[in-house]
């Protein structure tokens, strides 16, 4: 008898084997089904409810999946051989209830048990996003969420530029850019997505070139228009998350109102000199949340608005804020962490201080208050419309 066969005979005595149908029943009762086949094999099909964890990373990653050693584990491979070796390793790690699925995925499929063809990352994506895929909160499943996500940046300026670059780098599958402006040389101290040789080009085109140079896999959709009540829903309805990096009150309120109406999260950022405010306005969030009008019911009239023309900006400040917005957008897509819903983060760059303030939904809010019907978009005015 070959050494391999001798070892398998020993494992078959030591490791309980179960039929695929029994495995399905245990899975439905809370057991974890771990598929240890290689990436290319998984692409041919994965049992419904199974988690793909390749044999070569099984011992390193299993505790992220099953931190309790008493958790029942079911191991499946192609034909039921490798799963015996894998199950034995899990036993040695301390898992007490480990079983191998006899006949593996081939038998699972032959018996008509439920499976699906999973979306899998290609080799380029697995390499490009390797450093974030190894984060337990991301993994291949999280990366797939990012690739499937559609994020719209309102404004390709001081806030939108850094946000767009990092969202593209992270692999957001579809990035939208809405901005009607042209690149000006005075933008370049902060709008790092644009370059000197693209002064005079539409910002969305300049940004699109930068994003595709960074990550050609991203689908970039440009909207070279001024956001208005007439087009906002058509544009927003194609996205999952809105990142508001605009530079004027009228657009902040319009973006908010459209997000409330469409149930979308609006990642808000705004700055004045060295001060900034960041939040996620999302009344439709699980557990609810305020909208921008719950915080500020109305924009200031022009005579009381901060004077943008005299303000000035040090480029790093919108850089920091844009990246905070990008972070919130990624968290929302991944469904990890605690999004900045119901909280306003105030950043003071000169003193390097952050204050977190509680913002509750306003029951009397004209836009999202309980029992209120959407009042329509109305007129938004142009209080302080200058870019800082």
């Amino acid at each position: 008898m070959k050494a391999r066969d001798r070892r398998l005979a020993q494992l078959r005595v030591a490791i309980p084997e179960i039929a695929p149908a029994q495995a399905l029943a245990l899975l439905q009762r809370g057991a974890v089904l771990v598929d240890v086949r290689e990436h290319g094999e998984i692409a041919q099909g994965l049992a419904d409810g199974a988690v793909a964890l390749a044999r070569d990373s099984l011992e390193l990653c299993i505790e992220d999946l099953a931190p309790d050693p008493a958790q029942p584990l079911l191991v499946i491979c192609g034909s039921g051989v490798r799963s015996l070796f894998a199950a034995h390793s899990l036993r040695e790690l301390g898992y007490q209830d480990v079983r191998s699925v006899a006949g593996g995925f081939n038998r699972w499929k032959d018996e008509g048990l439920p499976f699906h063809l999973p979306k899998l990352l290609d080799a380029d994506a697995r390499l490009r996003y390797a450093r974030q895929i190894i984060l337990p909160e991301v993994g291949e499943a999280g990366q797939q969420k990012l690739l499937d996500a559609r994020v719209l940046l309102v404004g390709a300026g001081g806030l939108g530029a850094p946000a767009a670059l990092y969202l593209a780098a992270a692999g957001i599958g579809t990035l939208g850019l809405v901005d009607h402006d042209l690149v000006e040389r005075s933008n370049l101290n902060r709008q790092v997505i644009h370059t000197d040789d693209r002064v005079g080009e539409p910002k969305v085109e300049s940004a699109r070139r930068a994003l595709l140079a960074l990550n050609p896999a991203v689908r970039v959709q440009t909207h070279p228009v001024r956001l208005a009540p007439e087009n906002v829903e058509d544009i927003f309805s194609g996205y999952d998350v809105i990142v508001d990096g605009c530079d004027n009150f009228a657009t902040h309120y319009l973006a908010n109102d459209a997000c409330v109406r469409l149930g979308l999260p609006c990642v808000h950022g705004s700055i004045f000199r060295y001060d900034a405010q960041i939040s996620v306005f999302w009344p439709a969030a699980p557990g609810g949340g305020p909208c921008y009008r719950c915080l500020y019911a109305e924009p200031p009239p022009p005579e009381l608005a901060p004077s943008c023309n005299e303000a000035g900006v040090l480029g790093v400040v919108p850089g920091v804020v844009g990246l905070l917005e990008a972070t919130e957008a990624l968290k929302l897509v991944l469904g990890v962490g605690r999004p900045l819903v119901g909280r306003l983060l105030c950043y003071d760059a000169l003193n390097l201080s952050f204050h977190e303030l509680n913002v509750r939904p306003d029951p009397a809010c004209a836009c999202c208050g309980a029992g209120k019907t959407f009042p329509g978009y109305g007129k938004y005015g142009q209080s302080c419309n200058a870019a800082i």
């Binding site: 404004g155 300026g157 001081g158 806030l159 939108g160 990096g245 605009c246 530079d247 004027n248 009150f249 902040h252 950022g269 705004s270 700055i271 004045f272 000199r273 060295y274 001060d275 900034a276 405010q277 557990g287 609810g288 949340g289 915080l295 500020y296 019911a297 109305e298 924009p299 200031p300 009381l304 608005a305 901060p306 943008c308 303000a311 900006v313 919108p318 605690r338 819903v341 119901g342 909280r343 306003l344 105030c346 003071d348 003193n351 204050h355 977190e356 303030l357 509680n358 913002v359 509750r360 306003d362 209080s383 302080c384 870019a387 800082i388």
Partner: protein, 116 residues
């Protein structure tokens, strides 16, 4: 949503500091945002004695009238594009401008800003 004070909790906090009852008026700090500093000679903070948020604003207004004009309407209401926070809470969630202050409180004026 993150936790924060409610009106009852805030009253409880006040009642838990009987030492303050002996002090006639709490010493508090008004934090001035960059957008409004031009109305108070560039000051980032203003220290003053005030028992309520309204009293703090009125005291600041004695020194810097235009600052308060940007925060309150002529009839003394908070403008809809300005928020005031005490202990991280919007005073709207307590007693509005009549929210009582404790010794050492920081009163943050947070106006809307729009730059990007």
């Amino acid at each position: 949503m993150s936790g924060g004070g409610c009106g009852a909790c805030y009253s409880a906090a006040v009642n838990a500091r009987p030492d303050l009852a002996n002090r006639s008026v709490p010493r508090v700090t008004l934090l001035i945002p960059a957008a409004l500093r031009m109305h108070c000679a560039g000051a980032e903070v203003i220290a003053l004695d005030a028992a309520t948020v309204r009293a703090a604003l009125m005291a600041a207004g004695l020194r810097h009238a235009s600052l308060v004009q940007h925060v309150l309407t002529r009839d003394g209401q908070l403008r809809p594009f300005v928020k005031i926070f005490v202990r991280s809470d919007d005073v709207r969630d307590h007693q509005g401008l009549d929210t009582p202050l404790l010794d050492g409180d920081r009163v943050m004026i947070v106006p809307s800003v729009a730059g990007g």
